[in-house]
Symmetry: C2
Subunit: 332 residues, 2 copies
């Protein structure tokens, strides 16, 4: 049997009780029987349920939203996020899932794990289903970007991911903006566009509007953390809304005989659609640009969301994502 | 018979040929037989098709994306946007639909038509369907906002719209942000939140994430033009994408007998859903805060989109939206 895939899961500070999130984690173990989970949480909340492939590291403190960068990095060093990140740094685990703040995860990850050659900051990346093929968007919320060169680095990280993980031969790169004309949007984006346009090693196709990202216009969509997070959450909100409208439509007809007849085939069809939708709303976005697998989970995640976030981390470990990204930059 | 509703439609600079957009306009006339349309376009492109309730004002120039504010306001004054806006200013028409640039429309509208008491800038507003009730979001792309007071004014405009047009008694106001915690997002938003929180006449409920706007968390969602446009276009893109996945699912089964049996009821159900979706993707967003009805159409609009934009303008005229907003501010 191959070496187990070891994932640390920081549960402190989540909206749901740790015990509920544990159930989600157990579902992930069913999908990945070779996985070993370490929960970083308050032992009193979880002890009775833990089985052989799960262990607990006790912790009572977590990074708060209001903590400053200095507090996160050098003062409050006993938090669950520190514990998990140190385990990853020491190779005691292969991946780390956290419900903590994205900004703090980025800062601490950058502080404790190194970034590839020529890359200053990691970014949150996510794969989306497009009409005919997938695409990747980054940064989805880890960085407040002030320099065009940061967006240029994100483009390179995105290309590395699309090439090495997504197996896209020559990824097309676009910058997310509110229009495709050269003069549109903030100066930061216009300057970044000029920089990208001059990069011979990148296939830059210009600006893309959020209304066109699903249309296979680019393989890598680059954005700053603010606009990226607005876009990501708008997509998620719309998908959830439409899904609920669906379910309501299905439920509405429950008293009707004709409806009963078609319910099964209709459900089958809806299920296929839901599957497509689900990929856009899955919890768990991973960092690219750190030499370790770090997955950010919503702190308001459901049980199923926790399963998805752990699944994301296991996949990244099994695909050797950080190693592939690292190699890409060493070869460049 | 009541007085006709007169709408000027600026077609110059659109992606589709004027003749195609005219077909969309004709569909709008069918819905609103009391409507009179004035097309501002190159006469050579449209002449043969025009009937009694339509006329043409010839124009060959339009505002270009690269035109500076000075050019728009005082140098290139022979554009189709000027012609339409002047017709509105002179009350030669009751509403104006333009495919031109949002920023230019905002600037020219503000220059030629006045704004209500205490309001410096108009904003683009749109009604969305939420889970149980509609909500309104502004600004969706007209302004680059630098001052918290501008967002405060948008909140007041949104409340005026929700009260007087949407008939919401005490609209709840939220600020769009990437998180709901006090410290989240740019300083502009945090300062605006403090300002809104202190306003006794506003029911401010805090930040809302784009993933929650459909959940009836607020009646008025306030945002700056950049984030608002990113959110709007992300919603539109997702709806279009899901719609196409639907249609594909329906088409896929075409050879299957069982599928044929259920197609009709399934289509009926899809249609109900589509109707709900369509309201999120309709072309045509109106300005609030100008003493005249101005509707911005995508310049890449389809024929059906043109119908929707004209329909939007007619509705605003018939509901006396600018007069209601004006009164709200005079009474305050």
């Amino acid at each position: 049997m191959s070496r187990p895939c070891r994932i640390a899961v920081d549960l402190l500070g989540a909206e749901l009780p740790a015990a509920d999130l544990l159930n989600g984690a157990v579902d992930a173990l069913e999908q990945h029987p070779n996985c070993e989970l370490t929960f970083i949480c308050n032992r009193r909340e979880l002890k009775p349920r833990v089985c052989a492939s799960q262990r607990i590291v006790h912790c009572e403190h977590w990074v708060h939203e209001q903590d400053s960068l200095r507090e996160v990095l050098s003062e409050r060093t006993q938090t669950s996020m520190h514990v998990g990140m140190h385990m990853l740094q020491d190779r005691a685990v292969d991946g780390f899932v956290s419900v903590g703040s994205t900004g703090a995860l980025m800062a601490l990850g950058r502080h404790l794990l190194h970034t590839p050659n020529g890359i200053d900051r990691p970014a949150v990346i996510k794969e989306f289903d497009g009409r005919r093929r997938p695409f990747w968007m980054l940064d989805l919320g880890a960085n407040i970007v002030r320099k065009p060169s940061t967006l240029h680095q994100f483009a390179r990280l995105g290309v590395a991911y699309a090439c090495r993980v997504g197996k896209v031969k020559k990824p097309r790169v676009a910058l997310l903006n509110i229009g495709i004309e050269e003069r549109k949007g903030p100066a930061l984006l216009r300057d970044a566009a000029q920089m990208l346009d001059k990069s011979r090693d990148l296939d830059f196709v210009g600006f893309v509007e959020p209304s066109r990202i699903f249309d296979d216009t680019a393989d890598v969509v680059v954005t700053d953390g603010y606009a990226g997070n607005i876009a990501l959450k708008s997509v998620e909100g719309t998908v959830n809304f439409i899904r609920d409208v669906f379910l309501h439509e299905l439920a509405e007809d429950s008293g009707n005989d004709a409806a009963k007849l078609i319910r099964k085939p209709a459900r089958k069809r809806f299920r296929r659609l839901m599957k497509k939708l689900d990929s856009q709303r899955h919890n768990g976005a991973s960092f690219v640009g750190l030499n370790g697998v770090v997955v950010k989970s919503h702190n308001s995640t459901t049980q199923a969301g926790m399963t998805a976030a752990i699944d994301r981390a296991v996949c990244e470990v099994e695909l050797h994502v950080p190693e592939k990204i690292e190699k890409f930059f060493n070869k460049e």
